[in-house]
């Protein structure tokens, strides 16, 4: 055996860096905000894999801004591994030459700039992931050397309270700290005693009280005032054509107005259909304000949250039977576990998209924006490893038109993956297209694959205002394409529909129109919403929901 081989290079390297940083540590693990840039220059080296915590909700914004201020002569070629690219500072570090490569999951407002940087060669794109996939890689080939994370409070020893917005912190720190990496945390306040410990102090190296509270995006707040009659019609169709017949008990809702409309007609139309107790009892879901009326009406038994939603703190604390609550009474969200739940424990994913091609592949990518998909592809797929049965899963599997081709006579379930979209979006942009813009993006940004959110072979249902296509019932691609045409309305794809074929598909119940579902279209109006605006959500919550200022218009 070779005894000269060194087996603890990672730890030695970390210790060396920490020695350099010692001068900035005031007391315990506390570093002053004004020393943060110097601290980062001491603990980060060129070429490191670095994580900046942030997702579609909370952001380690102060640490991101500080990283963008380090000297690129000293620190460059960083490989950023992070859930989202959402803040200007996330791309400033590429602009300034501090970072070179990016592996990520989702970018919202920065998607256009990200695409530019890729085209200009300022940023080398590793891959676009779904959250869970990226978290998985943190433990295999992408463990961060340094993680810059965020919490509400820290104590002097470095314990963290991440509370309501725990989100990605545990998974990032597990991957970083147990691979001998370095953890820097920004908090809103350093206190003597925390409400509870979410992250133990020995996982944390440095704690900084940021000059201002960290940024949170209320991404899952949908103002009911903006819900249209068409969205209500489609919500009625979804309830009567999918939620009811499949009795979907475990599910995840996407972020858009379509699912907000569904949430808001559960206590009205849903109850009228007799669905209470038969569907929508268990969710992997952020605390959506539009869920309040359904919760108050007794629909829901359990919700596990990916993250917290601004303004919902007190409401959630007051409903501990439904949520995951710590000994201190606050919610504990956890993105990794909720994604696992979305993948394996939910019968259905339902959400919107931008484009669906003639085969049924869908994407939110456009030619000039690299937006990524967050968690949607993870929940919007048929989990091949699932083994536990449920009514909805068995029914969908039994209806699956290509099952025999694939598994012979073996009974098998199938998860419901539903895309809900009007045939035209704003500015008359067609939802149904010959070819996804994702192909153009792949070419423009030199990607190996067009970024697809949900692949055709996972998609089971499309809901448009024209009808529902039960795609999983199709026995061939040809039939599937006909079913898509039948619900594609007046788009170029929809105009190719053959009347006779559509009629036959309706008879086979592969396509169902609102008339087939016996839906009274005159009732598709806002009077069906249990709450018609944010103020009524506050009333439903008994004053516990505290909406962010931008949603307070009264």
């Amino acid at each position: 055996m070779d005894n000269t081989k060194v087996w603890d290079t990672l730890l030695r390297d970390t210790n060396e860096r920490k020695k350099k940083a010692e001068q900035y540590v005031k007391e315990g693990k506390i570093v002053a905000a004004e020393d943060t840039v110097a601290l980062l220059e001491a603990v980060i080296k060129s070429g490191d894999k670095v994580n900046i915590e942030g997702n579609n909700q909370k952001q380690a914004d102060f640490l991101a801004e500080c990283l963008a201020k380090v000297d690129p002569e000293k620190i460059n070629n960083l490989h950023m591994v992070q859930s989202v690219v959402a803040l200007p500072s996330h791309l400033d570090i590429f602009e300034r030459g501090i970072a070179k490569k990016l592996d990520y999951s989702f970018s919202g407002p920065q998607a256009g700039r990200l695409a530019e940087y890729v085209t200009e060669g300022k940023l080398e794109l590793g891959a676009i992931h779904t959250y869970l996939e990226l978290f998985g890689r943190y433990f295999i080939d992408l463990p961060p050397k340094v993680a810059l994370v965020v919490g509400y409070e820290a104590d002097r020893e470095g314990n963290l309270f991440t509370g309501f917005n725990t989100e990605d912190t545990p998974v990032i720190l597990e991957a970083t700290k147990f691979k001998q990496g370095i953890v820097v945390a920004q908090v809103n306040k350093i206190v003597d005693k925390l409400p509870r410990v979410d992250i133990p102090a020995d996982w944390v190296d440095y704690v900084i009280e940021a000059p201002k509270p960290f940024y949170i995006e209320p991404l899952f707040t949908r103002d009911p005032a903006l819900i249209t009659d068409t969205q209500i019609l489609m919500a009625m169709m979804a309830l009567k054509g999918i939620y009811g017949p499949y009795e979907v008990q475990t599910l995840n809702h996407g972020v858009g107005f379509f699912t907000a409309a569904i949430e808001l007609i559960l206590p009205t139309y849903g109850e009228e259909l007799g669905l209470k107790g038969k569907c929508c009892s268990y969710f992997a879901l952020n605390p959506h304000p539009t869920m309040i009326p359904a919760i108050e009406s007794g629909w829901v038994k359990n919700i596990h949250c990916f993250g917290g939603e601004l303004g919902m703190e007190e409401y959630v604390m007051a409903r501990p039977d439904l949520f995951f609550i710590g000994p201190d009474g606050n919610l504990r969200s956890n993105r990794a576990f909720s994604q696992v739940a979305g993948l394996y424990a939910c019968d259905m994913f339902i959400g919107g998209t931008l484009q669906i091609d003639k085969y049924g592949n869908s994407s939110t990518a456009t030619a000039s924006r690299i937006a990524g998909f967050g968690g949607a592809p993870n929940m919007g797929c048929d989990a091949k490893g699932r083994r536990h049965p449920s009514g909805a899963w068995l029914k969908c599997g039994a209806e699956y038109g290509e099952r025999e081709k694939l598994v012979g006579n073996m009974p098998k379930g199938k998860g419901l993956v539903v895309q809900m979209q009007e045939t035209f979006r704003e500015k008359m942009a067609p939802t149904f297209v010959e070819e996804l813009d994702a192909w153009k993006l792949a070419k423009n940004a030199n990607l190996d694959l067009p970024p697809v959110m949900i692949y055709s072979d996972d998609l089971t249902h499309i809901v448009t205002e024209e009808g529902i296509a039960y795609l999983h019932k199709c026995e061939s691609m040809e039939q599937r394409m006909s079913a898509i045409k039948a619900v594609a309305g007046y788009t170029d794809i929809g105009l190719q529909a053959d009347e006779k074929e559509t009629k036959a598909l309706r008879e086979k119940k592969i396509v169902q129109t609102p008339e087939d579902l016996e839906i009274d279209v005159t009732r598709a109006n806002r009077s069906l919403l249990a709450a018609k605006n944010i103020r009524e959500l506050v009333e439903w919550s008994g004053g516990l929901y505290n909406p962010p200022a931008k949603f307070r218009n009264w």
Binding site: T228, T230, E422, T423, G489, Y490, T522
Partner: protein
Amino acid sequence: MALNELQYEFKVDNPTTILKENYHYGVVGSGDMEVLMEKKDLGGAVKVKVVTPVSGFDKVWERVLKKFVTENSMGDVSLEINDNNATPVVVTMRLRQALAELVKEAEGGDK
């Protein structure tokens, strides 16, 4: 913005006219439209006038309207639509709703 005026005429087999002399439905809000339906002797045809700020979608209008008239076997009716950027989805839904409300009223149903 200049408004476009579009005119269409449709004829179906065995048409029936509407149950009321005239009927108004909808509001010309953004992304929405209103329709005025009027019983008129047009030799069994349906005449439609659309006033819209949108140009370049004459064919789509024609298809949406034709489908509506055909599905409901309408005749001897004049339709006047004032549109403010409604999508085909909204147009179809408003027309359906207008007709259904008209029938409800004519039959003395709720409203």
